[in-house]
Amino acid sequence: MQTIKVNIVTPDGPVYDSEVSMVIAVTATGEMGILPGHIPTVAPLGIGAVRLKKDNSTELAAVSGGFLEVRPDKVTILAQSAELATDIDLARAQESARRAEAMLQAHKDEVDFKRAELALKRAMNRINVYEGNI
């Protein structure tokens, strides 16, 4: 079976580097599945899960803020933060989800509201990825 090389890199270092058979990521315009031999593409990523399909298994990673660069034999995901499901600190994600919810309840000015919304989205994404609930 054909495979494609996937790299996930963040400013704090590489997170993932392996051969997979298919990558599914959430881009700004919707979900995008990449198979080996895809034409070179660049797309911004939303806050969401990246699914890395190998023969029988699927690995999950939570990414936020970044973009995806595709070449025929290689996919690079550049994200401001990215964690594999196994590396996610569940307690921390739950804590920040709680904090964000409290901020949304407080109804502060618009900037804070937007930031809290994003923080909540990131936290929920992490929790979902951790639980494999995609």
Binding site: N7, I39, P40, V42, Q80, S81
Partner: protein
């Protein structure tokens, strides 16, 4: 001449000081190791992002507000210093360079603003009566991207909303454990994006503008993050060197003091013997 007891006290206290500076030197050495590793971990990200930015810039005629030079009414200086002292010339070198540049370019404090990473820089510019728009202090020794996201986001955001029209960044570049060079870098507008030779032509989803919209702020932010990592490595290296020379100086001082201590002790013994002999002679 100082008494025996005085010299002894000085030797003891200098020894204590040298113990502390030696410990600090070793702490800095291990922190430097970590900082170098962090800086290395960042390299792939930076290279990749540069790659993509360059190939987009080369592959399309798109321009973006962040790449355009506009008439400069206000300049921002992003200065990366340390939070604490005991780092030799680390902070003073940077602050001197920035002050020289400011004096050369500007006649009034209204023409520029300061963005400061590090307490030393913030305090210094506040004392000069300059406007400090943002500051990030008490960063951990090994900052992660999340730690500095706040200030990078603001620095890039204020350029976009027109608070200032260009951003210069100053930091100590880590050349080696014993050499750090003050570096000036123009962060925004992004004018020095060079197209690399072998670039694939990409499909853009949804469009090149939309990608640049996401990519360029991220690129500018990672430039700043890279400088902070570089600065941190330099800080630990500078601190290590400063503590090493402090330890060496203390050792020299102790050697000198031990010599005069022995000399004074010898003199005291000789004097005692002379007195005893004199006393005995008087009895005869």
């Amino acid at each position: 001449m100082a008494s025996l007891r005085d010299i002894k006290n000085r030797i003891t206290s200098t020894k204590k000081t040298s113990q502390i500076t030696r410990a600090m030197q070793m702490v800095s050495a291990s922190k430097l190791n970590r900082a170098e590793m962090n800086a290395k971990a960042f390299v792939p990200y930076m290279e990749k992002i540069q790659d993509v930015v360059a190939s987009i810039a080369a592959g399309s005629n798109e321009t973006h507000a962040m790449m355009m030079t506009r008439p400069v009414q206000k300049t921002a200086y992003l200065v990366i210093t340390s939070d604490r002292g005991l780092v030799g010339g680390y902070n003073s070198n940077i602050l001197r360079t920035v002050m020289a540049r400011i004096n050369e370019r500007h006649t009034s404090n209204d023409e520029f603003v300061i963005l400061s990473v590090g307490r030393k820089g913030r305090d210094f510019f506040a004392k000069q009566g300059m406007t400090i728009l943002e500051s990030a202090i008490a960063l951990p020794d090994h900052p992660t991207f999340a730690d500095i996201k706040e200030i990078t986001r603001k620095a890039v955001g204020m350029f976009s909303d027109g608070t200032y029209d260009e951003v210069y960044m100053y930091y100590n570049h880590f050349a080696s454990a014993i050499q750090q060079d003050v570096t000036e870098k123009k962060v925004l507008p992004l004018t020095d994006i060079q197209a690399t030779g072998a670039t694939a032509s990409y499909e853009f989803d949804p469009s090149a503008e939309a990608i640049l919209e996401v990519l360029l702020p991220q690129y500018a932010e990672s430039l700043i993050f890279g400088a902070v990592l570089d600065g941190k490595a330099s800080e630990h290296a500078a601190s290590m060197t400063a503590m090493k020379s402090a330890t060496d100086n203390a050792t020299d001082l102790i050697n000198g003091l031990t010599l005069s201590y022995n000399r004074a002790r010898q003199a005291a013994i000789t004097q005692e013997i002379t007195e005893i002999v004199g006393g005995a002679a008087a009895l005869e």
